[in-house]
């Protein structure tokens, strides 16, 4: 640190050149860090621009609404519609939330309220490691372990029960009980979003002042009543934010879904039939795509961008609101 204390420097010219080089460094450093921070913004705008620019020919050709609503995806005749992929994305994400949310909240409650002290750390680490496992490994687990189980113990028995029934006979009936399909993708997505939602929800519950909890227990409340009437009302909005962060991840997840979704281009009425999501469609077709098909895939990317980013932005706003309290 002594270098900058200018007390004993006999040569004034040297001193001046030194202080001017200090000033230069100071300015350069400030500008460099400012530029790098702006680069983060630039990345976001770059992504938006690339997607909109790439998808533009398709939106012009079929119209924005026409592209979203059409169900034909015919590469030979250059007809592209996003609806089967959008429906697959939404359905699988919805299944993921239905399965994943109760489990994640259960884990968060266990970690913050029920767990004995010695168990807390190992379980927390396990949950966080689950989030670090690459998505391709989940894909392999889904394809080689989960899909055969789903085919054997879910689809086959379920087919016998629901066959011929109205509505359920369509939604839950699988023509080919192969184990791959939208529902299996939803289960894999549930497993993948659980660690996210659980660890954020745990942090949120941990932030609630202990006094609140203790006073409720002191009144004779059971754990259920503390959770239901004290913790959740306190954490409410940000728990929804945490769930939406999980939803954002489920909507955009690619590799794991590509393994198990079946990659069919048609729209099926059943959640057990093969389908595709926006991300899996892009992953499957992009490398062989030419001309308008590539634009159509970029247009799908554009749709995915706006959907996930709206969800993520809303999620961050909801989570952030509680941190202020």
């Amino acid at each position: 640190m002594t270098a900058w204390t200018e007390s004993v420097a006999p040569d004034r010219s040297m001193q001046r050149s030194r202080s001017s080089s200090l000033a230069t460094f100071d300015r350069t450093f400030r500008i460099a860090s400012y530029a790098c921070a702006l680069f983060v913004l630039l990345v976001l705008f770059g992504i938006v621009a690339a997607m909109v620019y790439g998808g533009w020919p398709v939106f012009r050709e079929f119209g924005f609404a026409g592209f979203l609503a059409s169900s034909t995806w015919d590469v030979n005749n250059d007809q592209y519609g996003a609806w089967p992929a959008i429906a697959g994305t939404l359905t699988s994400a919805a299944i993921a939330l239905v399965i994943g949310v109760p489990i994640s909240l259960g884990i968060a409650i266990f970690l913050t309220q029920l767990s004995p002290g010695w168990l807390k750390q190992p379980v927390s680490t396990a949950v966080e490691l689950l989030a670090a496992v690459p998505s391709i490994i989940y894909g392999m687990w889904g394809l080689f372990v989960l899909a055969p189980l789903v085919a054997r113990y879910v689809q086959t028995p379920l087919n016998e029960v629901v066959e011929g029934l109205p509505v359920v006979g369509t939604v839950l009936y699988s023509r080919v009980p192969s184990g791959t399909g939208i529902a299996t993708a939803g289960v894999i997505l549930a497993v993948m979003i659980i660690p996210f939602i659980a660890s954020i929800a745990r942090d949120i519950l941990d932030q609630i002042p202990t006094v609140l909890r203790e006073s409720a227990y002191g009144m004779g409340c059971t754990t259920w009543e503390v959770v239901r009437y004290v913790l959740f009302p306190q954490a409410g909005v940000s728990i929804i934010g945490a769930i939406m962060l999980g939803l954002g991840r489920a909507l955009g997840e690619t590799m794991a879904v590509t393994f198990v979704v079946g990659n069919a281009n048609r729209l099926s009425g059943s959640i057990f039939d093969p389908g595709s999501t926006i991300a899996s469609r892009i992953a499957n077709e992009f490398n062989e795509a030419l001309g308008l098909q590539m634009n159509a895939l970029l247009a799908l990317g554009c749709v995915l961008f706006f959907v996930t980013f709206s969800v993520l932005i809303l999620a961050r706003l909801l989570v952030a609101r509680v941190e202020v309290h």
């Binding site: 640190m1 900058w4 200090l22 460094f25 100071d26 450093f29 460099a32 860090s33 400012y34 790098c36 921070a37 702006l38 983060v40 913004l41 990345v43 976001l44 770059g46 992504i47 690339a50 997607m51 620019y53 259960g106 884990i107 266990f110 029920l114 379980v123 396990a126 949950v127 490691l129 689950l130 670090a132 690459p134 998505s135 391709i136 490994i137 392999m140 687990w141 394809l143 080689f144 372990v145 660690p195 009144m219 409340c221 059971t222 754990t223 009543e225 954002g248 909507l251 955009g252 690619t254 991300a279 892009i282 992953a283 992009f286 490398n287 990317g301 961008f305 980013f309 993520l312 932005i313």
Partner: protein
């Protein structure tokens, strides 16, 4: 609060002292049981995945994996040497690009921008990018690098991985710099140090361990990324060119292609690759976690 209604004193008097109404007890027991079961389920899935990887992967491991290149379709033997080296190069490239930018951007947020409007916007955008779908980053880099340059390249793959790791590094750098006490900065500033020197000499030095942890976490994040590499570095069955132009072999895409292939030895290699990559990533995350905990003590 609604608690008052559930502990109705008159009803409470009807049951013996120190006992809870049955409905309340059942609800409570059910919550506890469900939460415990769900937690067990979460841990079980992790164990299941690890067991699957070890079961299938260990039998496929052999010295050949690290010394020989990927086998052609239908041919026996072979290894993953080119894929492993390619993955290491791409990851190092990504981190090398992202680290200076990320650390400086994090520094801006923590030291210069602080509570300013621009800083809070950047902070928010960065948090959103943190969970952005990685396939979109792949498409983005395809449009800005692969298409204009006329071909897949390791450089494009490195840039895609850099964009994915950038928000992680920005976030951890900012968080770690914020933990540095202001009094340290004030002491240095009072000695006449310009702000840039305060930051590099005091703040960075104090937060060094945390920033390095952030970089390790970023490595763990990008090492297994597949989707962004599909459209940028693609893959290569042979040794890639040292200029990194053309497809560069890498583990994640190889695992993806081999796992879905009809050849038994390719599937074996996919399992071996999956075991290697997961062991590396989980080991790295545990190490980063350990560093973080040791630092905070």
């Amino acid at each position: 609060m609604a608690i008052g209604t559930s502990t109705d004193p008159i009803q409470g008097a009807a049951v013996p002292w120190r006992r809870v109404r049955p409905q309340r007890e059942i609800a409570d027991r059910m919550l506890k049981a469900l939460c415990t079961v769900f937690t067990g389920l979460g841990v079980l899935v992790l164990g299941w995945i690890l067991a699957m990887l070890i079961w299938e992967g260990v039998s496929a491991l052999s010295p050949d994996i690290f010394t020989r290149t990927m086998p052609g379709p239908g041919s026996e033997g072979g290894g993953l040497a080119n894929a492993i080296v390619g993955s290491v190069i791409l990851t190092v490239l990504g981190i090398a690009v992202a680290t200076p930018i990320g650390v400086l951007a994090g520094t801006y947020l923590a030291e210069y921008g602080r509570a300013s409007k621009l800083a809070s916007v950047i902070r928010f955008i960065n948090d959103v990018l943190l969970s952005a779908p990685s396939i979109l980053i792949g498409l983005f880099v395809y449009t800005i690098m692969v298409q204009p340059l006329g071909g897949y390249s390791g450089w494009a793959g490195g840039v895609a991985l850099a964009i994915i790791s950038l928000p992680v590094i920005v976030r951890t750098t900012e968080d770690m710099l914020r933990l540095v006490p202001t009094s340290l900065r004030e002491a240095a500033a009072a000695m006449g140090a310009p702000q840039a020197h305060v930051i590099t000499g005091i703040s960075w030095r104090a937060a060094r361990a945390g920033i390095i942890t952030g970089i390790l976490l970023a490595v763990a994040r990008i090492a297994g990324e597949t989707a962004p590499l599909l459209f940028t570095a693609l893959n290569n069955s042979f040794w890639f060119s040292p200029s990194l132009l053309g497809g560069v072999s890498n583990l994640p895409v190889t695992i993806f292609q081999f796992a879905l292939s009809p050849y038994a030895n390719w599937q074996q290699l996919a399992w071996a690759g999956a075991l290697i990559i997961t062991a590396a990533i989980l080991g790295l995350s545990l190490f980063a976690r350990y560093l973080l905990k040791r630092g905070s003590r």
